[in-house]
């Protein structure tokens, strides 16, 4: 006979509330308050699963987080790939099947319980409900401190004082710097992951009993003694009728009493202090006979269906160790207890500190000739022999033995195997007890599903913010196809009548070059730079001189890193003598503002200038094309749009479409262009007016093609942090007569002055319909030689040009400017495409079109 429900005990269960569940297809019943483990034992289930490597039948060993044997997969009412049966609170409709080894995820994602994350600030965090913290907590409550208590089990061991917040089913997953704790609170409807910042943390996590190893100690029916007592006391379940007790200490006296009170017989107590030990067990799938060995080597066999083992108690100090606390060996207790190290905000109390634990004989396994079934780590199917083999191969450190055997790496994280293994290794090396302790445990304290860690940060809208402009709704209404540009969601193209991307982009480009197009450029970073030293400051941050920019004018500039490489680009608009509006790339806005502040605060605090982000203060509607002037004029404006009154790279303030506007003659495509800067409150209004006036909306894809036709670079596409202005053929943007600016010194190092640097060129495939692949390597011959193939450069952008009626690409090519007219081959997917090397500007090289 094996486990069954009894009338005694059962403090945690409610016998008036039965719960139905399914295990391995069998419909069984338990009670509210049961764990899956106690319910399985009550139903006489011996074998829960098979061991992962050897396939041996395994049953329940413990009553808690230290379980290393009985694992299941849950499929209802929620999915969990692998979990110890002792860690599952029984709920109605639970469906479980035995799961050896590694959990498996289903192909189709299953719904998970929602999880929220929550922050909490407390003066005291108490982890666990062991003894030892009452006085400190009482004083804290008196003072009005906030005290949080988290207990892994569904119940709290002691009576909690008033003024303390208690969370049950809440496991501290880990402790981190400065009293930061992550606590996983499981609930029936949802889980909460608490991020707790505590002034002080008290660990009252108790201690875990450890086993003793002997032959076939993994047979179902071998259990930790304290767990046996717990099943009777808390769950009203008697795990066996005839129990042999195997012990090193006095804690099993109480276990024996509990067993007897529940009606079990105890045919033998094997106390190693008296020279007796369990040598092995016998039975089909469950213990039926227990073999004993005495002080003189005498043998005895006893019929029994339960072996209650107590090798000693290990303080549950994993959280303490993971944050840097150390252990020392305690000889009377024959275990490791926390030492004086660890952070000053952390205190370990009670059994977790080794207080109140029973003195123990140091006994790790029953000696035998054959140690190959003396299991030490059940979840890894590793035995005493495996440990000795590792030492025999020359390994001395427990850390190495751990990696060689995987002992301690499974779900139980070595709670029952760690001390055993360390002492077996110490003894095998002839070292003293405690010479090296168990390997460290790492967070999380127990396994935690990724869905809990993700919380609400999942799904299309919440995983990462999708930033949108004030004109976004218009794009959606228009059926735009979007792309992610950093955190922004920008229209990539606007398909009409079921166009594919290629057709839409071709149409949008043609419209811009021959009529008028409009782009939502609101995502550009914008910074107001204000103060008497604004000009001086910008001169130091940019490669070109901004101080001689006239009010009302605009200048395009580069910002370099201190290493001389292109960092960001943008235009500066002079608003007044002491005022500029600077634009940055969409993705670079935050980085540029941060760098401005860094230089001003840490290097030049004497400069009289302030920077303010206005990126979302302004919407930018960019109207371009030969018809752009007519479009803007048709909106109604008091700004003189003629080329003489508003020349290229100037701006004027006025009213457009009835709202205040800065009209800027800036072009990223070479056609006549008016960028309309308006309050973002007016962005939608102006966009709608421009589109109604006949401008064709175009997206980022067409924008890329149009700028590439003019050889305009995109920072981050043609540049990768290793490109100087001269590499791009833009040496003109560096003003040599200027004083020092960020990056200037680096431009005259020997490396930027090398002759064979990659330079920006255009590539014209010999076949005007052949589209080279972006990222393709450039090589010197049609046929690829044997590797290593000399690489001459790479393709940075590649497009079909509607206006030229052919394909083209931009590339970085070694000594590219000297190679104009020559041929290179773009290699990808095993094929090469022959291309003529040309100047980077493939369209309107004389800039004749920009004034319309």
């Amino acid at each position: 006979m094996t486990g069954r429900r009894v009338d005694v005990g059962g403090a945690w269960i409610d016998r008036s509330r039965p719960i139905g569940f399914t295990f391995e297809g069998r419909e069984l019943t338990g009670f509210e308050g049961d764990t899956l483990a106690s319910a399985l034992l009550a139903n006489g289930v011996d074998v829960v699963c098979r061991s992962p490597i050897l396939g041996r039948p395994r049953g329940i060993v413990s009553a808690g987080v230290e379980e290393s044997s009985a694992f299941v997969q849950l499929s209802e009412p929620w999915f969990e790939p692998i979990v110890a049966v002792t860690m599952v609170n029984l709920v109605d409709g639970l469906v479980a099947t035995g799961r050896p080894g590694v959990g498996v995820l289903p192909i189709d994602p299953l719904p998970t319980k929602p999880t929220v994350h929550r922050h909490a600030h407390v003066e005291f965090l108490v982890v666990g409900s062991g003894e030892g913290w009452h006085p400190t907590v009482g004083e804290a409550v008196q003072r009005g401190d906030r005290v949080l208590l988290v207990e892994r089990e569904p119940r709290f061991a002691a009576a909690s004082p008033d003024g303390v917040t208690v969370l049950t089913n809440a496991t501290a997953l880990g402790l981190y710097d400065d009293g930061y704790a992550v606590v996983d609170e499981r609930g029936p409807e949802r889980d909460t992951l608490w991020h707790v910042r505590a002034g002080r943390v008290i660990l009252a996590t108790g201690a875990h009993e450890r086993p003793i190893a002997f032959a076939d100690d993994d047979r179902p029916g071998v259990m930790l003694a304290g767990a046996v007592a717990r099943y009777i006391r808390d769950f009203g379940v008697l795990p066996g009728q005839r129990a042999v007790i195997f012990t090193t200490n006095d804690s099993t006296r109480e276990v024996a009493q509990t067993l007897t009170d529940a009606g079990a017989e105890i045919p033998f107590v094997a106390d190693v202090r008296l020279g007796w030990a369990v040598a092995g067990t016998e039975g089909e799938t469950h213990v039926e006979v227990v073999h004993l060995v005495g002080p003189q080597g005498e043998r005895r066999a006893v019929e029994a269906d339960l072996v209650a083992v107590s090798g000693g108690c290990n303080p549950a100090a994993q959280l303490f160790r993971a944050i840097g606390g150390g252990l020392r060996y305690d000889e009377p207790l024959a275990t490791y207890v926390p030492d004086e190290s660890g952070p000053d905000w952390l205190e370990v109390v009670g059994a977790a500190a080794g207080i109140g634990l029973p003195p123990c004989a140091a006994y790790w396994y029953t000696p035998a000739e054959d140690l190959s079934t003396h299991f030490v780590d059940l979840q890894r199917d590793q035995t005493v022999q495996d440990v000795l083999d590792a030492v025999g191969r020359g390994l001395r450190s427990v850390e190495h033995v751990k990696r060689a055997t995987y002992i301690g790496t499974a779900i139980d994280q070595g709670r029952t195997s760690g001390v055993l293994t360390a002492e077996i290794v110490n003894a095998a090396l002839g070292w003293e007890l405690g010479a090296q302790g168990p390997t460290n445990a790492r967070p999380p304290y127990v396994p935690v599903p990724f869905s809990v860690l993700a919380g609400m940060d999942r799904g299309p809208t919440l995983l990462d913010p999708k930033r949108t402009t004030p004109i976004h709704a218009a794009h959606v209404e228009r059926g735009a196809v979007f792309e992610n540009v950093g955190q922004w969601l920008r229209p990539r193209y606007f398909p009409e009548f079921e166009e594919d991307m290629e057709s839409a982009v071709a149409r949008e480009c043609l419209a811009l070059r021959t009529a008028a197009g409009v782009l939502d450029a609101s995502t550009l970073g914008k910074i107001e730079v204000v103060g008497p030293d604004a000009a001086v400051f910008l001169d130091r941050m940019y490669t070109n001189r901004m101080s001689n920019l006239a009010v009302g004018s605009i200048r395009y500039g580069f910002m370099l890193g201190l290493d001389g490489m292109v960092f960001d680009d943008g235009v500066a608009m002079r608003l007044a003598d002491d005022r500029y509006l600077v634009t940055t790339t969409t993705g670079g806005a935050a980085a540029v503002l941060d760098r401005f502040e860094e230089w001003l605060q840490t290097e030049w605090p004497e400069l009289r200038v302030f920077c303010t982000s206005v990126t979302e203060q302004w919407a930018v509607v960019a109207v371009g094309g030969p018809g752009a002037r007519d479009i803007v004029a048709s909106l109604g404006t008091d700004v003189d749009l003629a080329a003489e009154a508003l020349p290229w790279m100037t701006w004027r303030a006025g009213t457009v479409a009835g709202v205040p506007c800065r009209v800027c003659r800036v072009s990223f495509h070479g056609e006549l262009s008016y960028e309309l800067h308006v309050s973002s409150w007016h962005g939608r209004h102006v966009w709608d007016a421009v589109v109604a006036a006949g401008a064709v909306p175009y997206g980022t894809e067409a924008m890329h093609v149009l700028r590439a036709e003019k050889g305009y670079v995109i920072v981050g596409q043609e540049t990768d942090g290793t490109v100087t202005p001269d590499d791009l053929g833009m040496g003109w943007i560096v003003n040599p007569a200027k004083g020092d600016f960020v990056g200037k010194r680096s431009l005259v190092r020997t490396d930027p002055l090398r002759m064979d640097r990659k330079q920006l060129v255009a590539l014209l495939p010999h076949d005007p319909a052949a589209l080279v692949v972006e990222g393709a390597q450039l090589v010197g011959s049609a046929d690829l030689p044997k590797p290593p193939v000399p690489m001459l450069g790479h393709v940075t952008s590649s497009y079909r040009s509607t206006i030229l009626g052919r394909t083209f690409a931009l590339a970085m090519l070694k000594d590219g400017r000297a190679m104009h007219g020559g041929t290179v081959w773009a290699a990808s997917n095993g094929a090469t495409i022959a291309c003529e090397v040309a100047s980077a500007v493939v369209y309107d090289a004389e800039d004749r079109r920009r004034d319309g």
């Binding site: 906030r146 609400m456 990462d464 930033r467 709704a473 302030f610 303010t612 979302e616």
Partner: protein, 184 residues
């Protein structure tokens, strides 16, 4: 404010959703960013808080401390030009930067005693009433969105950039849906 029919406030189409979590949109709130050496703060036409992460609010103007030399001045919708004018006037002979940023952030008010529990799910700040009092403000994070929080007597003001508003409202709704009522 006089009706500017051409102006659209972000979140105008999500006002009903905001209401379900005790939130209210404050459209077109006037906001001006002032940067000036704190030694001259006394020249301002109203008190500028010098203690970090505090605000001074007289109902007509609120001044929020953003940094040792930076304040955000809030005023009624349509008031930005007036605020810019009074600040430029007060600091006329001093190095300063006065920038209208009214459209740069959207103002949301969270009402009801349950708002602190909702915020605690998204904000790493200690929002316990013992430290988060009616004068407090802070630049911080709600989820992944940078925000400015300002505590008033019976509401918490959130200032967030327009591009993050959909994300923030989606997040507030999701958390509220998972944990239950905020309570008006």
């Amino acid at each position: 404010m006089t009706a500017d029919v051409r102006a659209r406030s972000p979140l105008a189409d999500r006002v009903a959703e905001l209401a379900t979590i005790g939130g209210e949109l404050v459209p077109f709130l006037a906001q001006v960013d002032l940067r000036v050496d704190p030694a001259y703060a006394g020249l301002a036409p109203y008190p500028l808080p010098l203690e970090p992460d505090t605000a001074v609010d007289d109902g007509r103007r609120a001044a929020l401390w953003l940094g040792p030399d930076e304040w955000l001045i809030l005023g009624p919708p349509g008031g930005e030009a007036e605020i810019v004018g009074e600040l430029e006037g007060a600091f006329a002979s001093i190095d300063r930067s006065v920038v209208d940023v009214s459209a740069n952030r959207v103002a949301i008010e969270l009402n009801g005693p349950g708002r602190f529990d909702l915020l605690a799910h998204l904000c790493p700040l200690d929002l316990d009433p013992r430290v988060w009092t009616a004068r407090r403000c802070a630049q911080t994070l709600l989820g992944r969105a940078q925000v400015i929080l300002q505590e008033r007597t019976d509401a918490t003001g959130i200032l967030v950039r327009p591009s993050f508003t959909d994300y923030l409202v989606d997040l507030l709704l999701a958390v509220h849906g998972a944990v239950g009522g905020v309570g008006a």
